[in-house]
C-alpha cells in the first residue's frame, strides 16, 4: 500500500528545520521560505499486504484484497481480529501443567516487496533530470501475523533509495478478543501502532488510502492535514477499539511523539514534538446488503505541537474527517468507491504565520473498477483548499506558492495490470488543475500547475 509518508516541519525559521529528520521528497520544499511552519511531503508508501499473511492463512492474496492494499470483508476481519487466523502448521509448546504457552509459525512470517519505477513530469524541475528511474523505488521486508492466539502484528521495514537507509515503516501490533454484548457478537482489542489510521479497517482513511503507489520524485502539493500522513512513523499510539455486531466500530486512543532517526530523549533540537498526548478517535458504521458493503465513518485527532524543542508555546492542530467506503462485488469483478473529507483547524499560537488561525480542507475520492482481479481502472479527483497565508505558504521555485494559498486540485487516472496476484504493473497519470494556489505561475518562478503533471509507471513484486 502506498501511503504517504509525511513529515511535519515546525520551525520558526528555515534555519530551525532539522536536516535529515525525515524523508522529505525532493522538489516540494522551498528553501527560500522565511517560515515553513507546517509542511508535508509525499514519499512512497507501504503496504498492508504481505505474502507472509498468505502463508499463515493459506489463502490467496485475493481472499483478503480486491486490489492490495484494499481489503475485502475477509481482510478486514483478519485485521480486526489481530492478524491471528491461521491454517498453516505451527509449533506449539506447553508448560508442565499442559497449558499451551507457545505458538509459532513453522513457516517464517517474512516476505519481501520490490518496486521499481519510472517518473516523468510534464516539465522537468529546474536544474534536474526528468525521466527518473528508481531501482528499487521501494524495497520492503514484511513480517507479522499471529504471535499468540489473540496477539498479532504487522511490521514493515523499508529501504529508502533516496536516503540510502533502512528504516521502520508502518507497524501495527494488536490484541483482539471477542465477547457477546446485548446478544450480539463483539470484537474488542487494542492496537499499538506508529501512524494514525494505519490500524484502520477501510481504505478511505489516509494511511491505506489511494493512491497505493505514488512517485517519490514528482512535485506534490505542499499542504496537508496532520492526520493525512504527516505523523507517519513520527509517533507511537495506543488505541482501544471495538466492533459490535459488525455494524458499529469505535476506536479511541492517543499518540505521542516517537520519531525515529533522531537522538533520544527529545530535546531542544527536536522539531514537531507533540506536547503530551494527541487524542485520536474513530467511529464507523459498516453494513452489507446483497453484494454491496458500505461504511460511513468519521475520525479525527488533535495535537499541540512545539515548533522547536520540547517546551514553550505550541501550535494546535485539530482534524475532523468524514469518510465512506463502498464495495460492490459483481461476480469476479468489483467496483469500489472510497473517499474522505478532512478539515483541519490550525491555531498558530506559537506564531510564525500571518494569520493566527488557518484552516485546511482536503477532499479525496477514488472510484475503482476491478476486472477479474487482473485489471483495474481508477479515477481519483482530489482537492485541497485553505486559508491564504504568505508566511506559511511562501513563494519558491516548484514547491512554493506565489499567492500564499495552499489550494491544489487535480485528478489521478490509473490502470493496473496484475497477471499474477503478487505482480502488478501500475500506470498512473496525475493531472493538476491547480497547484499551490494557482494554475499558472503558481510558484512565482513561472511554473504552471500542469508542468507538474506526472506519469508514473511502477512495477511491484511481492513474494
Amino acid at each position: 500500500m502506498s501511503h504517504r509518508v509525511g513529515i511535519v516541519w515546525l520551525a520558526a525559521t528555515i534555519a530551525c528545520i532539522a536536516p535529515g529528520v525525515a524523508r522529505a521528497s525532493g522538489g516540494v520544499h522551498d528553501g527560500s521560505a522565511a517560515v515553513r511552519a507546517y509542511e508535508y511531503a509525499y514519499t512512497h508508501k507501504t503496504f498492508d499486504l504481505t505474502p507472509a499473511f498468505a502463508r499463515q492463512t493459506g489463502l490467496a492474496c485475493s481472499a483478503c484484497h480486491t486490489h492490495y492494499p484494499e481489503l475485502t470483508a475477509t481482510g478486514r476481519a483478519f485485521k480486526l481480529n489481530g492478524y491471528v487466523f491461521r491454517r498453516a502448521d505451527s509449533l506449539q509448546g506447553r508448560n508442565p501443567e499442559g497449558e499451551q504457552n507457545l505458538l509459532l509459525n513453522l513457516v517464517p512470517p517474512i516476505s519481501l516487496m520490490v518496486q521499481t519505477s519510472y517518473t516523468s513530469t510534464n516539465k522537468a524541475q529546474p536544474g534536474t533530470q526528468n525521466g527518473i528511474v528508481f531501482f528499487p523505488d521501494q524495497l520492503s521486508i514484511f513480517t507479522g501475523g499471529e504471535v499468540t492466539p489473540h496477539l498479532g502484528g504487522f511490521l514493515q521495514i523499508t529501504f529508502d533509495p533516496q536516503s540510502g537507509s533502512l528504516g521502520i515503516d508502518n507497524a501495527d501490533f494488536r490484541y483482539a478478543n471477542n465477547t457477546t454484548v446485548f446478544s450480539k457478537h463483539m470484537v474488542y482489542g487494542v492496537s499499538l501502532n506508529n501512524n494514525p489510521t494505519v490500524q484502520d479497517l477501510w481504505n478511505s482513511t489516509p494511511a491505506w488510502g489511494f493512491p497505493y503507489g505514488s512517485s517519490a520524485a514528482a512535485p506534490t502539493p505542499t499542504a496537508a492535514a496532520m492526520v493525512d500522513g504527516a505523523l507517519a512513523q513520527q509517533v507511537a499510539g495506543l488505541t482501544a477499539y471495538t466492533m459490535w455486531n459488525n455494524k458499529v466500530y469505535a476506536e479511541f486512543g492517543g499518540y505521542r511523539s516517537a520519531p525515529v532517526g533522531v537522538t533520544r530523549p527529545l530535546d531542544a533540537t527536536a522539531t514537531g514534538v507533540i506536547r503530551g498526548l494527541a487524542p485520536y478517535w474513530r467511529v464507523a458504521l459498516p453494513n452489507t446488503w446483497g453484494q454491496h458493503s458500505l461504511m460511513l465513518g468519521a475520525y479525527g485527532m488533535s495535537a499541540k505541537v512545539y515548533p522547536t524543542g520540547v517546551s514553550g508555546p505550541t501550535n494546535r492542530f485539530s482534524d475532523v474527517a468524514a469518510d465512506l467506503a463502498w464495495m460492490w462485488m459483481t461476480g469476479s469483478n468489483s467496483i469500489t468507491l472510497d473517499g474522505t473529507v478532512i478539515h483541519e483547524r490550525q491555531n498558530w499560537d506559537a506564531g510564525g504565520t500571518v494569520n493566527p488561525v488557518n484552516t485546511l480542507t482536503t477532499v479525496r475520492f477514488d472510484a475503482m473498477y476491478h476486472v477479474r482481479q487482473v485489471v483495474a481502472f481508477t479515477l481519483a479527483p482530489f482537492s485541497t483548499t485553505g486559508t491564504t497565508d504568505s508566511l506559511l505558504y511562501a513563494a519558491g521555485a516548484v514547491g512554493g506558492s506565489r499567492t500564499g494559498s495552499p489550494n491544489s486540485s487535480g485528478l489521478i487516472a490509473e490502470a493496473d495490470v496484475m497477471p499474477w496476484q503478487n505482480f502488478r504493473l501500475q500506470f498512473q497519470y496525475v493531472a493538476y488543475s491547480k497547484f499551490n494556489g494557482a494554475s499558472t505561475n503558481y510558484d512565482g518562478a513561472g511554473r504552471r500547475a500542469a508542468d507538474n503533471n506526472t506519469l508514473y509507471i511502477l512495477a511491484w513484486l511481492l513474494y
Partner: protein, 183 residues
C-alpha cells in the same frame, strides 16, 4: 453447541412433538460420531428437508468448515423434488462466511457463481455473514445430480470450505453422512 443451535434443536423437537415432522422421516445419521443427528430434520409428508449448516463449527481448517467438515467431507442427500431448508449459522469468531449451492465442479470457484437452484444462496455472498449471524436458505431441489455447498466469500471455498449435496432420483429419505475427502 452454541445457543442458536440449541434453540434450533428445541424448536425442532417441539415441532416434532406437534406432529409436524412425520414420524418415519427421522434423519438417517452417518457412521461415526462426527455427524450430529440434529443437523437433519425431514418431513416426508410435506417433503421438506432441513439441514443445519454451521460455519466454523470446529477449528478444522482454521475454522473454514461446515459442520466440522471440509473438502467434501460431509454429504447431504435429498430426494429429487424435495424442498430444502438450510439453517446457516456462522460460529466462526474470526471470519465471515456465506453459503451457496453450486454444481459439482472442481476446482471449487474462488468466489460467487450462479447458484445451482434459484435462491440456493445466502445474501451477501462475497461479504459473508459475520460471527454469530444466521440466515435461512430455502430452495427446491428439482434436478437430480451432485452439487456442492460452498462458502462463496472469495478464497474460502477454494481453501476447502465446502461439503456436498446430492439430489437423488430414487425416493429415498434425506440423509447426512460423512464422505471421504476427494480433493
Amino acid at each position: 453447541m452454541r445457543e442458536w443451535n440449541k434453540q434450533v434443536m428445541m424448536m425442532m423437537a417441539g415441532a416434532a412433538q406437534l406432529g409436524i415432522f412425520a414420524a418415519g422421516a427421522a434423519a438417517q445419521t452417518a457412521r461415526g460420531n462426527a455427524v450430529d443427528p440434529a443437523w437433519l430434520k425431514a418431513d416426508s409428508i410435506t417433503k421438506v428437508a432441513e439441514f443445519s449448516v454451521v460455519a466454523g463449527l470446529t477449528g478444522l481448517n482454521g475454522g473454514m468448515n461446515f459442520d466440522g467438515a471440509k473438502d467434501g467431507g460431509l454429504t447431504f442427500t435429498v430426494p429429487v423434488g424435495w424442498s430444502v431448508v438450510l439453517h446457516v449459522y456462522n460460529e466462526d469468531q474470526t471470519l465471515p462466511h456465506s453459503v451457496e449451492v453450486i454444481r459439482d465442479s472442481l476446482p471449487v470457484p474462488t468466489g460467487p457463481v450462479a447458484p445451482a437452484f434459484p435462491h440456493a444462496e445466502t445474501s451477501s455472498l462475497s461479504q459473508g455473514m459475520s460471527a454469530e449471524q444466521k440466515q435461512t436458505v430455502r430452495f427446491v431441489a428439482d434436478r437430480a445430480g451432485k452439487y456442492l455447498i460452498f462458502c462463496a466469500v472469495p478464497g474460502h471455498g477454494a481453501a476447502g470450505m465446502w461439503i456436498r449435496l446430492t439430489v437423488a432420483p430414487d425416493p429415498r429419505r434425506p440423509t447426512i453422512e460423512e464422505t471421504p475427502n476427494k480433493s
